[in-house]
Subunit: 265 residues, 2 copies
């Protein structure tokens, strides 16, 4: 009983004011994420991973909002040390807070980490998103990077923001393990660094002779790689289309999946 009482006081100590709701909702826009240095994590799986990663993650949890009934059922499965972040809310309040059409029972706010760019282009493969527009694609690529043990996903300043709710959602926890930065490609690389891109004229992914390091450039869904970055490519990779295949191209995330699987073989 005592411990239960203690828990309750911890959970209820925050109050969700109208201003706070406004602040959290504003994090759906890149402008305010940048201004406030925060982003929103939605859904049970993502928030559980965030809480389990505390306090050693570079992504620091700041607040969690959980629906009353869900919280009653699940509070004992959340790390005890993270209960202090939790505010109990109604499902109506979660509907207001959520960017999703089906609001999840739990939403968290965390600080966007600032990471020092540290990778070894001679022995490591990193990904560069060149004007990727669709947040679903960006998130799926983050998830792929996470699967294939890629530490860094960089993005051009005009790519989808990797801290956007739909990117975080599609990434399935990748934001905890894969580091990101927005930077021009020219500022990221030096002359000695291999820059790889998928292209109709490159060597086949089936050649068995795939590079294992450098920067893998992934281009915009419609336009492909931008003209200025095109000049920086040093190696071209082709995914051969089956002779009887009819599609003109592949979705950027599925093309990335195929290339990464052949590079990590």
């Amino acid at each position: 009983l005592g411990s239960n009482f203690h828990f309750r006081t911890e959970i209820l100590k925050h109050v969700l004011t109208t201003n706070r709701i406004k602040d959290i909702k504003s994090l759906q826009l890149a402008k305010f994420r940048k201004e406030l240095g925060q982003f929103v994590i939605e859904g049970e799986k993502n928030v559980r991973e965030l809480l389990q990663a505390q306090p050693y993650s570079s992504v620091v949890c700041e607040e969690v909002f959980a629906e009353t009934v869900w919280l009653r059922k699940n509070r004992d499965t959340l790390p005890r040390s993270t209960h202090k972040y939790i505010t109990e809310v109604t499902s109506r309040q979660l509907e207001v807070l959520s960017a999703l059409t089906t609001p999840p029972p739990i939403i968290a706010v965390a600080a966007i980490p600032e990471e020092k760019i540290d990778f070894d282009p001679d022995n490591e493969l990193v990904i560069y998103l060149d004007q990727i527009q669709d947040p679903g694609n960006a998130g799926t690529i983050m998830r792929l990077a996470d699967w294939f043990g890629i530490r860094w996903v960089f993005a051009s300043p005009d790519s989808a923001d990797l801290w956007a709710p739909k990117v975080v959602q599609a990434g399935m926890g990748a934001f905890l393990r894969v580091k990101t930065a927005r930077i021009d490609l020219i500022g990221l690389i030096d002359r000695s660094m291999p820059v790889l891109a998928a292209d109709m004229t490159g060597q086949s992914v089936y050649s068995g002779n795939m590079p294992k390091n450098g920067v893998l450039l992934l281009g915009n869904e419609g336009q492909g790689i931008s003209v200025s970055n095109e000049r920086l490519i040093t190696e071209r990779i082709t995914i051969p289309r089956t002779p009887r295949g009819g599609a003109e191209s592949l979705n950027v995330a599925t093309a990335a999946a195929i290339i990464l699987s052949h590079m990590s073989k």
Copy 2:
């Protein structure tokens, strides 16, 4: 001048009544697609492909709605024999007709073809979608099938409808070349047919020993393969996670991309 006049009369012969708008909008729902035997194709690339495939495609175009200014610029680039399908509409009318947030300049209505199931399981690979829910995933898998020359994508009756606007959109013209049918897996296969599925315990896609025929089963985004279909699997395939990788799983379309690329090598 004469030919231009002739063109104009052809283009304007249809009138877009309120009832017709209601009918076309209703095609956003599976129920009415089934009832009317029609579906909607949105966007320049998809509609161009549909028109170029006439009159020999199994997907028969019935009507096209094109925005006035766009049509003036582009009518000469559309096959002359398909001008008879075109109704000139305002951008306001397209906004009403479209299921997309950014309405395209051209939308078509076509008949859903009924195809006779004809595949050779001994020499051909087909895909089966087991309760795939996300239309973006279903469309991306259709596009993959199209790239890898797969003729059939089957879906369980509780999968996303493959004629839904978002599936057609993400499929990038695949609906013209990849045939589909909704059918229970048990009704599709016989005892001699290999049924493949991605699984943690299967042989690695890197083994160089991948099957080249049968039914590739792709499971639901959250739950994986359904219990009843699980029993029908005859071969299991694994995509090895890089040892330092953190993700729990891959998105179903990216997993399919990796498996298909290793099967078609």
